[in-house]
Amino acid sequence: MKKVSKLGASRREFLKSAAATAAFAAVGGLARSARGQSKEVIKIGQPTILSGRVARLGESSRNGAQLAIDGFNAAGGLNGRMLQLVTRDSKGRPDEAARVVRELINTDKCSIILDSEASSAAFAVQEVIRQTGTLCMHACSETTSLTADPKIRAANAFRCARQDIHDSIAGGQYAAQFVKQQGLKRWMICSPDYAYGRDVSALFFHFLKQNAPSVEVVSETWPKLFAPDYTENITKILQVKPQALYSALYGGDLVTFIDQGNLYGLFEQLTLFDPNMADYTTLEAVKKLPKGIHSGDRYLSTFPATKANADWAAEYQKKFNVPPINWSWQNYVGMTFIIEAMKKTGSVDSKTLADAIRGMTIDSPFGADGKITMRTEDQTIINYAIGWGVIIPNAPYLENIEPANWNVILELEKDWKKKKGYI
């Protein structure tokens, strides 16, 4: 019988253990190496509306941002670091939007906020990012005071969206010619009762009256935002019998208003001016489009009538299977500013990026002359394409478009801001 050496047995066990340990160490080292080689993603938090009457706002915003991000990631990202969009539904409620933004920053560790909220929630988001210092690009809110009012403005917040004052200056000048041609002196307002609706309506008439002093606003009606029924507003309009109606309703609200107004033959009795009608969502949803509605362009692939714009729209349509709308281009351009700032600085630090974005001019298919600038003084975009025309039921949906003159817009805007005490 052979004598089993205890030492031999122990040595075998020792060797087995050593081999196992070496194997684990090798695997661990590989893992550590792999972790070191993979780069941390840069998260962009996007609070938006993904349900309810304006769910298309959130979907189109997300799509627009994603299109820009995918292009950047495909080109290698920021030194190999990819961007990741983290989108959350706030249902359009300001309290929920504020909570969502805090969660995106604190829990999801988002470095940058792309705020795709309507105005009602954008102001709530502004206060959160003012406290956190996170870079924020507002890409949907059009209420001028968000960036024009120095008490509301924040150094780390920018706006990449059309503004109600710009649309109103252009719209007021456009409408004034019809006041003179068609004698449209008695006007009425039917706009949603919140910041954007009130502000844009007031601004429109401020600038309309500057160009056509004979205009008189004989009555107003202010339906609640996302109201399901406009019957009482429509019947009031019928009683007042204005010659022209201005409305800032949009999306599903505008579709419902037009459908219900058609029942009463409303649009045969007056001329409607609405800056938000020329939008594919609305145009395709209205079953019976009244004739002769005047609208601002919002977004159309045919305005500006450039190859770059048409190509972008085609790319968007191909990727998402729906046409782009106003919020699509705004979020795309908003992300473009952020991306260009990252490329320029090589950083994701909020203050560094903010300093780079301030005053930046980028090439853009949506610029009036192929460029859009982020104005330094109030951190909002200028020189984007604005035009008003007449709605027609088929593509291109807006005819006789009159592009706005940005020199005039900037001059009148400056005067208005001085009167408001903003400058």
Binding site: A55, K91, K224
Partner: protein, 300 residues
């Protein structure tokens, strides 16, 4: 308050016709929803917070049926029945478990299903708003009456709702089923002792209430865009109507719905900044003067 505008309106036949018809239109839809709510409460003693979701389902079911069949009438009838069936199943499987529970438990169950049904609608029909459009039968110019405008579709809607109100009243007051329902509202246990299948009766009542809400959604579909969570807005208004009319009173719901409709229609002219507030103020006044509501007794 815009008193001159209000006086101008009252002195104008066209304004009176238009505003009264507006009030009726608003009121009729509210009545359909509120009558189902008050019926369920009056008999079952349950405050059905999912009632607005049944309205939403009625609208979406009608949209799908209309797109498939092309017939609006079929869409309304069949889909209202579909919501009724859903209501019966919902009552048998879930609500019946909480009849004798604390009202908070009932609220919890209902709220859970509001969230579930909203998400189901998002998954099936998408998150974006949808529109049905006006059926060709009703795509007609408005009727001119003493200078006022009344759309033909709204005449149909009002007539149908009045017929439904009469039918419901006859059902509850003149039929054996109605007698059983009224008896169940008073003493379910005694009714069960007399050999009546009260579970089946309860299911039928819940189904009838759901049918009314679903019918309202289907009828409103041509003129209101649909979106998930649309049920919430009409739920609040129908609760106001139910409280003003008296919980459990169908005739109360009818008069309250018409009153609320008139308040909103006239309010848009006379006190446009306080229309919603006036509705709530009126409700508060009724609660102060007659806490059980204007016709506040069960199944009056």
């Amino acid at each position: 308050m815009n008193l001159p505008a209000l006086l101008d309106c009252v002195s104008s036949s066209s304004c009176v016709v238009t505003q009264v018809s507006t009030g009726l239109i608003i009121g009729m839809l509210l009545f359909l929803v509120a009558s189902g709510l008050t019926l369920i409460f009056g008999v079952l003693g349950v405050i059905n917070f999912t009632h607005g979701s049944f309205y939403m389902l009625g609208a979406y079911f009608a949209l799908t049926a209309y797109r498939v069949s092309g017939s609006y009438f079929e869409a309304v009838i069949v889909r209202a029945l579909g919501v009724a069936v859903f209501g019966v199943v919902f009552e048998r499987l879930f609500i019946s478990s909480v009849y004798n529970s604390n009202v908070l438990m009932q609220l919890l169950v209902c709220y859970a299903f509001i969230l579930i049904l909203d998400d189901v609608v998002k998954i099936v029909w998408g998150t974006d708003f949808q529109t049905m459009g006006m059926p060709s039968t009703f795509a007609l110019p408005p009727i001119h009456l003493f200078g006022g405008f009344v759309p033909p579709f709204y005449v149909f809607l009002t007539g149908l709702t009045v017929a439904a109100a009469v039918g419901l009243s006859v059902l509850v007051n003149k039929t054996r089923f109605g007698k059983l329902v009224r008896a169940a509202a008073v003493n379910r246990q005694m009714l069960a002792c007399l050999g009546v299948n009260t579970s089946l009766l309860y299911g039928a009542v819940f189904g009838l209430g759901s049918l009314l809400a679903g019918a309202a959604g289907a009828l409103a579909a041509p003129v209101r865009s649909m979106s998930p969570e649309m049920g919430f807005s009409i739920l609040i208004e129908s609760f106001i109507v139910t409280v003003i009319g008296g919980m459990g009173s169908i005739i109360g719901a009818f008069f309250a719905a018409v009153l609320v409709g008139i308040i909103r229609a006239v309010g848009s002219i006379g006190y446009p900044l306080f229309t919603d507030g006036l509705m709530f103020a009126f409700m508060a006044l009724v609660l102060l003067v007659k806490p059980t509501g204007l016709f506040g007794r069960k199944l009056a």
